[in-house]
Amino acid sequence: MHEFWQQVFSGLAAGSVYASVALALVMIYRSTDLVNFAQGEMAMFSTYIAWTLVNAGMPFWGAFAVTLIVSFVGGMVIERVVIRPVENAPVLAAVVVTIGLLLIFNSVAGWIYTYTVQDFPSPFPDRPLFHALITTRDLGVIAVTLIMLVLLFLFFRFTSTGLAMRAAAQNPASARLCGIRVGRMLAIGWGLAAAIGATAGIMVAPVLFLDPNMMGGVLLYAFAGALLGGITSPVGAVVGGLIVGVTENLVGTYLIASQLKLTVALALIILVLVFRPNGLFGTAIVRRV
């Protein structure tokens, strides 16, 4: 039983990383009806920025903060420069653009930093806690994710910009009539998604080690999580990400070889799409005509 709970907790740590990336995917999907396949590679690139700053002697949390700001601005620039021109194009065109971004980020990272696997420092010591149920590192990752989620919730719930972003995602025409700059809201959404992804990348890098392909698997798990939760639901993304993290860990420990864990994500994606396309928390907006 002890081992089971150990696996659950370490699954929750991995799951919170998936949850973060899933949330970034959902945010962009809700505002632009687009799955951003480059989300993982953007996060990987952000992580390299943090790595560079730490190697240049910056304290970890300072590098973390600077990386978030750079990623936020970078995400906004990507929306303005690359996504905006295909805003009204068929969905497939926009999807191809995000796949193009994925390849570009991957290659540029390889070109600048090489494909050599790098050590990434963890801000948390790796000590067992509570009779080795959980490590301080896993607890730290979960805590950082929770803090981020709470901040995002407060932003969307209580600030006027957050409300305007929700309105712009739901009904852009009506939002414009309220004086809301919808284009700017989309850019802020991409910026936030990039910053959330950066947090996930930095949290997972000490475990996975840093290389340009680090986020490939994470993106797949996150995608499974987002679908499981319902691709339109932020809460669903978080819950789905956590479920995927725990499931992956348990299945890898008890059922199949851990090398086959990624198939869990793929199987989950297929199962959700076949049996419950709206996921667990898919849109349930009350509507009367």
Partner: protein
Amino acid sequence: MAPILELRSVKAFYGQSEVVHGIDLAVEEGGMTVLLGANGAGKTTTLRAICGMVRSEGEILFAGKRLDRRATEDIAGVGVAHVPEGRGTFIGLTVEENLRLGGYTRPRNAPANMERMYGYFPILAERRRQQGGALSGGEQQMLAIARALMMEPRLLVLDEPSFGLAPRVVEDIFKIVERIKKEERVSVLLVEQNATLALESADHAYLLETGYVVASGSAKALADDPQIRRAYLGY
């Protein structure tokens, strides 16, 4: 009195096709003007042209300043509040959030304005925590009007407020619009299918047919015109 809104030979387009063919139109300050006409006459398109939602040619003047070629969100900021066809409710957001969005460009006065709106529409106060989509059609129309008034507009543009509503509800809506016009000192431009009721409330009217103004004048004069009575009022 100078008109608050003036259209000078305005053409409006959907994509490449011209739907409104060079119309002139004015709304007096503090007045209520109604656009009448059959389906497809170009009424909604005219309203959309005013708010920059479709491409237009010609001059659109609001309080003497050009509106044409400005972005929809800027036009909202200068004091034109548009309640669009279908009411534009943010169905997944609460009533209160819908109102907060209306006050987006006037954040300082928003709390006071919201209380005033709850005064006009007590039902919205009761339902402030409910999702916009859960309201009835009449309540959604009230919410849309209240949301527009949160912008402290000088001109309120209403696109078929009676659409899909029971006759009694429509009468209530018109009554409240007339009251709001007086108390909020707002001018009103209205598109309406219910010609009888619209001509009773409005002081000026335009009749559109396939993108042209075919008749205009005081609401009373149009209501008394035998041809218009036969074609649009049905008696």
